[in-house]
Symmetry: C2
Subunit: 483 residues, 2 copies
């Protein structure tokens, strides 16, 4: 007889008690998030900082939750706070939390097979096709985020336009070198993807942008012509639907025309900005996403799904499946039973085991309805516009880029002070805003100038938060600038 | 004034009520999982199967939870059940569920910056280094699973041994073609990765295996020599620590010797089997993982962390960081404040936004202590051995591969019946086991024979479940075989 043990607890009631306690505490935190400092550094004496040995003893869930409550939760990265404006972070939402919690209990592997989670992911993908006016027979997959989505899309683009069987032969077996195109303002994940796929960063031509930070379309045309003349093989253009620096939207319509005429794959990086197609004021400039071959975007940004969750949609389902399908003996599909459910999601991406990430997206969209996200996106853009006006009205502040969407880049300015000192001053202001727990913008550099970068993808922000931000930037600028 | 709305509920108490109700229901399900059928097909009339329009209306969390409870939870893929033996799935654990739930509330983006989640992921990685005797200054990152871990590791391997600046120039800019090596029993994700990285599947030499399903070491040596003589550039050997078909462990020591002598990257695919290094009976055969350049493995298999969670460890931290680091203007690190916390995890993988996946791993290891996992791995292997004996003792069953770890491949056998009919019969048996809700093994093919494949990575399985399985296979075999 084998002596048998399990990870299940002897006493489920005790476990249940800790869960209920955790729920009460965490909902309380969410409810009162505005009262907390936005960020506090993990204390130097915190055991979080210790590099310890792997635990050999058991710890009760009670003790572990208490540790979480005291040592982790107060030291989060702050993106659930109404004055978090750093990088592009979503703020989370309670329906999404419920989805994630239920997915953890259910513990489904959505790599394939025939079970409820597969159907939910298909529904979510159908909804996404509707958002971007992609055909019903497009394929897609829920990803950890846009970086992974772009990687999947560009793999299919590469394989489709390689001019040879790159899956079998590799890039080194192809007759011509492959090249792709994007703008200098494109997200760094595009270059990382070129690198990863073996194309190399040199194979990604990055064009300068116009005064609105949009890809120079004439440069794109010239470059494609020159590359073709030089015997190279253009495979893809990556257009930005909302650049990370300024929120600029490339001229998607012109890019779609060029890609159609040149038989090149058009991929749209819509990480946060893509979903602005839901908002009336961006519907027109983003409508040409429907003409792209693929789009990748995030649910964890402007849809506030808890991290991480993104998506890629691809029009050519067959090419998509061909790029990732690999049904070996132990993955053989059977007609009936659990091993049915064709096609399997593992045939549309690199991952074979896949969590039930789609459930938190499903809960989020079902709970609020898609119109709410349209309204919130518009709201954030109006708030950015409001902040832009505040900046323009302040003699000490300088707007560094046109406010095109939800991003405001500005700086504290003192006439006569050298640029490098201004750069340092603005970095200090941002650091102080964070360490004093007031607000969390991030920084970026535009034409050599350090900008305080405020990206409003936050459903908790109200205009009073922006008034406060401006006041505090000016206060810190005055204090620090006088040294 | 901007009219402002938020996703936060007006009444937090209502939300709290649904969460408490959900906790009670889900814990009840977990407690009574043995009483449920292992799998039920989503009914043909279920709304899960409908391709509907994107919701425009709000739905209460109460309604959504009720729908989940009635229409999703009963139709899971069954891997939390004690008689789930399909593919290689973990069974989940309640501490991991708590970790995932708390991570969803906290909603951290662990791409970088300075906050609690970053420290927890570092601790988890430190523990993993201890498990595999990797040096403290190794690098690593928590991934969605081994496929992603292998992709990260082989990217670093490719860049390290390319013989040129492949990140800049791409594979097409290199002087020699790159090749890698694995066995015919290696997981399909290895070939998918070669494909993805632009190396092509032909560049992956797959050797036949010996009678124990282990890589033929002499073939490996000959192939490396032949490739070098042919002007090709060997970059990596991928060794299996537990193949998916039979649980075979390659001769890691000999492979490590060859890789050292030949200056080739050694990567170990330890998806499920790697963690068996914790168990005394596998310590020796897996010890040479410590000599590898990288290992990828899953937490969601033999550590029962809720899906998805895996890990990759890489000895050469500098090469790892160089492969993925891309610190552009908007990701500039500042000395103080939230933008501190060097290095950032996004510098060690393709993803820039990253969920707090490490928390469910941390909770799981803390709750049980690492010794429990060693015990459970041994337990599952003893159970597999027990099942192997049962098969050997039954005149109607035939063992199709040596039981080397936790996997038992066998079939129902009727003397004189042609092989193709036996194959169909065994597929039918597996389907019936699933559709009748009894047990969920999967199938594979070994030397042309369809095998009933039982992989025991399940902390809820007891020997009585294996007795039942054998009885039911024989019953179904008798019934179906008489047609």
């Amino acid at each position: 007889m084998i002596s048998e043990t399990t990870l299940d607890p002897e006493n489920w009631d005790d476990v249940s008690d800790v869960f209920h306690q955790a729920i009460d505490h965490c909902i309380g935190m969410m409810k009162n998030v505005r009262e907390r400092p936005i960020w506090r550094q993990v204390p130097s004496e915190s055991t979080l900082r210790q590099h310890g040995n792997i635990p050999t003893e058991e710890h009760s869930l009670n003790d572990l939750f208490t540790y979480f409550q005291d040592s982790m939760l107060p030291y989060s990265n702050g993106n659930t706070h109404p004055r978090f404006f750093g990088w592009v972070h979503g703020s989370g939402n309670i329906a999404g939390v419920m989805g994630e919690m239920l997915a953890a209990f259910m513990n489904s592997n959505v790599g394939g097979r025939d079970h409820a989670a597969v159907y939910i992911e298909r529904q979510v993908l159908d909804w996404c096709k509707q958002i971007f006016s992609f055909p019903e027979d497009s394929s897609g997959v829920v990803t950890t985020g846009t970086s992974m989505g772009t990687m999947i899309a560009l793999t299919v683009a590469r394989n489709t336009h390689a001019g040879g069987d790159v899956q079998k032969l590799g890039l080194q077996g192809l007759p011509a070198r492959l090249v792709g195109y994007t703008s200098s303002e494109a997200h760094c994940s595009v270059a990382k993807t070129f690198d990863l796929l073996g194309l190399g960063q040199d194979a990604l031509r990055r064009f300068p942008v116009d005064e609105h930070y949009r890809m120079d379309i004439e440069a794109l045309k010239r470059s494609i012509a020159a590359d073709r003349a030089g015997g190279l093989r253009p495979i893809a253009v990556v257009a930005s639907a909302g650049t990370v620096n300024t929120g600029a939207i490339d001229d998607l319509c012109s890019i779609a025309d060029i890609c159609r005429d040149q038989n090149i794959w058009m991929h749209v990086d819509g990480a946060f900005g893509g979903l602005a197609v839901l908002a009336p004021e961006y519907k027109e400039s983003l409508a040409a996403i429907a003409r792209a071959d693929s789009i990748a975007f995030d649910f964890h940004k402007w849809m506030h799904v808890p991290y991480d969750a993104g998506c890629v949609l691809i029009k050519n389902e067959a090419a998509h499946r061909k790029a990732f399908s690999s049904r070996v003996d132990y993955l053989t599909s059977l007609n009936d039973g659990l091993a049915g459910g064709e096609p399997w999601f593992c045939e549309y991406g690199p991952e074979l085991s896949r969590g039930f990430r789609a459930l938190k997206v499903w809960f989020t969209i079902q709970a609020y309805g898609i119109q709410r996200f349209a309204d919130l996106i518009s709201q954030n853009c109006r708030q950015a516009s409001y902040l832009g006006e505040l900046v323009k009205c302040s003699s000490n502040l300088q707007l560094l880029a046109e406010v095109t969407m939800n991003i405001v880049c500005f700086r504290y300015f003192i006439p006569g002070v050298p640029e490098d000192e201004l750069n340092e001053l603005n970095k200090t202001i941002v650091t102080e805003l964070q360490t004093q727990g007031i607000a969390a913008p991030s920084t970026t550099t535009l034409a050599g100038r350090t900008a305080i970068r405020v990206a409003i993808t936050n459903h908790r922000t109200v205009t009073a938060d922006l008034d406060l931000l401006v006041d505090e930037v000016c206060r810190l600028g005055r204090t620090r600038g006088c040294k």
